[in-house]
């Protein structure tokens, strides 16, 4: 087995380069959220607490990796960008309950797990981008299926977590049959294949491919502020943004959130990080650098986001949305949303 010898050699070589965290004042963060977005937050956490944060950004398979690492896992904090995956981690028994007065005071009860297994850290709304000269000032998600918009709608894949959560919320509001009819209607209205990213909606509206589309709120901030470069600033100029609501509810909001891993070797530091992330300073950073809605109401929002109007968050419980995730994903396949 010269392969295993080679593997050991390779391992030794690489070990010199890679960081093997062992010191006590460290903390390991497994995240599906791109760390670049939260690096400034992590840096100021390290500066104030002296705890170094090691990160690994995982796309798919965060749960699988933590599960397989088992009791030897280095993971302390698990972070995701949508509620479905967050609740999934808890359902698989990969998280542990945390009791913290700081967390329960800062985060409203509907944005955290009752047992303390997960906590939302920031919110983003699923909003409507519309061609800037369009005569349109209010919008219901239900309208997306209105035949009046035939050939005029752009949206990313129906299987993307953001859209799965929107469909799941629709199911919670109107039931599965109504959701199927709605999704079929939206599919019939598409101007191009469902796909790409949220910013492509703005670009495609500018390119005349469509008139309206659904995308996340913070991209508006990233494009309009110039943080995404001069090209994206142009895209953002081609659109106006409307905060849509359900006919019998509010604007659909998803969360980014975190949990403490079941086998966290540095539990204390993990809780410390979560508490830091909901502090006033950190929540301001979420709002100003990432253009998200903070979970701590007192932190306020960025002026660009404030301009979009007052957010009236849909009342539907996040856990209920997470429970409808599978049904929503299957519906998207049933109506051939991405075909």
């Amino acid at each position: 087995m010269h392969a295993s010898k080679l593997a050991i050699l390779v391992g030794t070589l690489a070990g010199a380069g890679a960081v093997m965290p062992v010191a006590a004042q460290e903390l390991n963060l497994y995240t599906t959220r791109e760390p670049g977005l939260i690096q400034p937050l992590l840096d100021s956490f390290t500066a104030s607490s002296g705890v170094k944060v090691n990160t690994i950004f995982l796309k798919e398979g965060l749960a699988e990796r933590v599960q397989q690492e088992g009791t030897a896992s280095l993971a302390d904090v698990l972070m995701t960008v949508d509620i479905g995956n967050l609740v999934d981690l808890t359902d698989r028994g990969l998280t542990q309950p945390v009791e913290s007065a700081v967390l329960s005071e800062a985060i409203p009860a509907n944005l955290r797990d009752e047992a303390g297994n997960w906590f939302a850290l920031s919110q983003r709304a699923r909003v409507l981008y519309a061609e800037k000269d369009l005569d349109l000032s209010e919008f219901h998600y239900e309208d997306l299926a209105d035949p009046a918009w035939k050939g005029k709608v752009c949206i990313r894949s129906g299987q993307h977590p953001y859209n799965v959560a929107l469909t799941a919320a629709y199911i919670v509001h109107h039931g599965e049959d109504a959701a199927r009819t709605w999704l079929t209607g939206v599919k019939d209205n598409l101007a191009r294949k469902a796909g790409g990213g949220d910013r492509d909606v703005a670009r495609d509206i500018m390119g005349g491919i469509c008139d309206i589309g659904i995308a996340n709120s913070y991209y508006v901030g990233l494009m309009r502020s110039g943080a995404g470069g001069p090209e994206q600033e142009e895209w953002a100029k081609a659109i106006k943004v409307i905060l849509p609501t359900f006919e019998d509810g509010g604007t659909q909001v998803n969360v980014s959130g975190a949990a403490v891993a079941k086998n966290a070797p540095n539990r204390e530091q993990a809780v410390q990080l979560l508490e830091y992330l909901v502090s006033d300073a950190a929540q301001k950073e979420y709002a100003e650098a990432n253009f998200e809605y903070p979970v701590r109401a007192s932190a306020g929002v960025d002026p660009i986001i404030a301009e979009l109007g007052t957010l009236s968050t849909d009342e539907v419980n996040l856990t209920e949305i997470a429970r409808q995730r599978k049904a929503a994903s299957e519906l998207a396949e049933e109506v051939g949303f991405d075909n």
């Binding site: 093997m20 397989q68 894949s157 294949k193 500018m206 090209e231 995730r325 994903s329 299957e330």
Partner: protein, 541 residues
């Protein structure tokens, strides 16, 4: 059982382990999945996968074989440059070419903006052109970057081929085209089949370009089942079903080829290139320059432009240097492992021909037929199991705590790359060995060479172009590899591909241009090192 058989078995085992662990996951069952799939998913996904694979297959075979033949058997202006330039698209990952063309051909991109300016049309709403985000677009773009998988091994075979059979065909009155079809093409068939199979598996398992271009393949269904519904057993079932189909198809091709013998032995007179003139020369230049221009020059120039813009806007991240080193280092180590293992397993099959060694070399190629992330998920339990054993042993013998050694050191990555890309090594070397007559082996053995000696003194020198070519593709593939790298890397460890993905996840694709450009550059480097492959001396004719 001798050393060769044991080595072949061990190597096959390395690739088989993740497949077995996937099968175990699949066996957990997934209620109601196949009913749902059969009703709602498979009709479209199977059809689209078939269309995509047929289209890409035809395109890569046509471009790959034509250009390989032109640069090996003909002489025309620029041939020496085309010989290696035709490899360049290999350095462009599928997700990068998809993104580049989406940008270039978008209604507000440079091409359509210029077109509207010429035509005097003000708004993009008044000129709607077909969208690249379509099946046709996907076939075109994948074909443009995947044809080198065919070009490289086929050209290696043409270079190794003796010119004699071809000369015989010409003497017997066949024209240049007819003798190409009757003699050269059948001789290159193992290489064409191997190269096309690689390209098709790459196309089938692609998720990046398919996602950008909105094409739904079976692989997309695997992802959806797993990611959107947390149904890993179901995803593993689909992936294994696909694997079974791929294995069956490859077996059919092999059976069809079994009755043919391709060996060429004795004194070899190299192919004498035919000098092309006039329209024929112009046609050859066009046939070679179009794939290079569309598959490399256009996306690469776009990246250079975007990267320059970005550097002016945001500067260069110093992290990129470390990431480039990681990328090259790990791709290099994995390439070394793959080449050694591939030579061993194909050598065993050649020197100790038996059902056992032949099956071992088949099994060693399985990894490439499974989508990257799914294979990585299969590797995860294997690696963590090994890690737990290592940790326990270290505790017992040294009283030391080593944690998860393979995952923590990056050894898991090298294993993943090797398991995934071993097929490229074995495929390339097999295709290179096929035309080498077994009588040479017999001669070497008669002259007292051991099996290892035969491998070293006969096979390795003759197949060096094929081995170099295979190693090159493996290196580039490792440098581009994303899904397994994301899942199996240590903490705080980035490669260029993961950096690129991170930027893409944020939606800041422009930032990613610099990383993408370095990936392409790292891919080009080995292309330029291919001097022994291109610099073969030819008799002047």
């Amino acid at each position: 059982m001798g050393r060769w058989e044991l080595a072949a078995l061990a190597i096959a085992g390395l690739v088989l382990l993740p497949v077995v662990s996937l099968a175990l996951v699949a066996a957990q069952g997934s209620e109601g999945l196949w009913g749902h799939l059969a009703r709602n998913v498979l009709p479209v996904a199977v059809r689209d996968t078939a269309i995509l694979l047929t289209g890409v297959g035809l395109m890569v075979a046509a471009i790959g074989v034509t250009t390989a033949w032109l640069v090996s058997a003909c002489d025309f202006p620029g041939r020496r440059i085309f010989e290696w330039a035709l490899l360049l698209p290999l350095a462009v990952p599928t997700y990068i070419i998809a993104y580049a063309y989406l940008d270039l051909l978008h209604p507000i991109g440079p091409v359509q903006t210029t077109l509207r300016a010429w035509l005097g049309i003000a708004s993009p709403r008044d000129l709607r052109l077909p969208d690249i985000r379509s099946m046709g677009g996907c076939i075109l773009l994948l074909g443009l970057v995947l044809y080198p998988y065919v070009y490289l091994p086929v050209r290696a075979v043409f270079l190794m081929q003796s010119g004699d059979p071809l000369a015989a065909a010409r003497t017997l009155g066949r024209g240049p085209l007819a003798s190409f079809v009757a003699v050269a093409l059948p001789l290159a068939r193992p290489a064409i089949a191997a190269g096309t199979a690689l390209a098709l598996m790459e196309a089938m398992n692609d998720i990046g370009a398919a996602e950008f271009l909105g094409v739904r393949t079976l692989t997309v269904s695997v992802y959806t089942t797993w990611i959107s519904r947390s149904d890993l057993p179901g995803a593993a079932q689909i992936a294994l079903a696909m694997l079974a189909v791929v294995v069956a198809l490859v077996a059919v091709e092999r059976t069809a080829r079994r009755r043919q013998r391709f060996a060429v032995g004795g004194r070899r007179h190299p192919l004498v290139p035919v000098r092309l003139r006039g329209w024929a020369a112009a046609g050859a230049v066009a046939a070679c320059s179009v794939p290079v221009a569309l598959g490399f020059l256009a996306p690469a120039s776009y990246l250079v432009y975007e990267a320059a813009e970005r550097i002016r806007f945001a500067g260069v991240s110093p992290r990129l240097i470390g990431e480039a080193i990681n990328t090259a280092l790990f791709a290099g180590m994995a390439t070394l492992v793959v080449v050694v293992l591939a030579v061993a397993v194909t050598g065993a099959a050649r020197l100790r021909p038996s059902r056992l060694t032949a099956s071992a070399s088949r099994v060693a190629s399985l990894g490439y037929a499974i989508p990257g992330t799914v294979l990585a998920i299969g590797i995860l339990p294997v690696v963590t199991l090994a890690d737990r054993q290592i940790a326990a042993a270290a505790q017992t013998f040294f009283g030391a705590s080593v944690g998860l050694l393979m995952l923590g050191s990056g050894a898991a990555l090298v294993y993943a790359y090797a398991a995934r890309f071993l097929a490229i090594g074995t495929g390339g070397i097999e295709a290179g060995l096929a035309p080498v007559s077994p009588s040479l082996d017999h001669a070497a053995r008669t002259l007292g060479r051991s099996e290892a000696g035969t491998l070293r003194d006969v096979h390795l020198p003759i197949t060096r172009p094929a081995i170099t070519a295979a190693g090159l593709i493996v290196f580039i593939d490792c440098a581009k590899e994303l899904p397994a790298t994301l899942l199996l890397r240590p903490l705080n460890f980035e490669t260029l591909a993961t950096h690129l993905y991170g930027e893409a996840a944020r939606g800041t694709y422009e930032d990613a241009a610099i990383a993408a450009l370095i990936i392409v550059a790292i891919g080009i480097l080995p292309v330029t090192l291919l001097a022994p492959l291109r610099g073969r001396k030819r008799p002047s004719g």
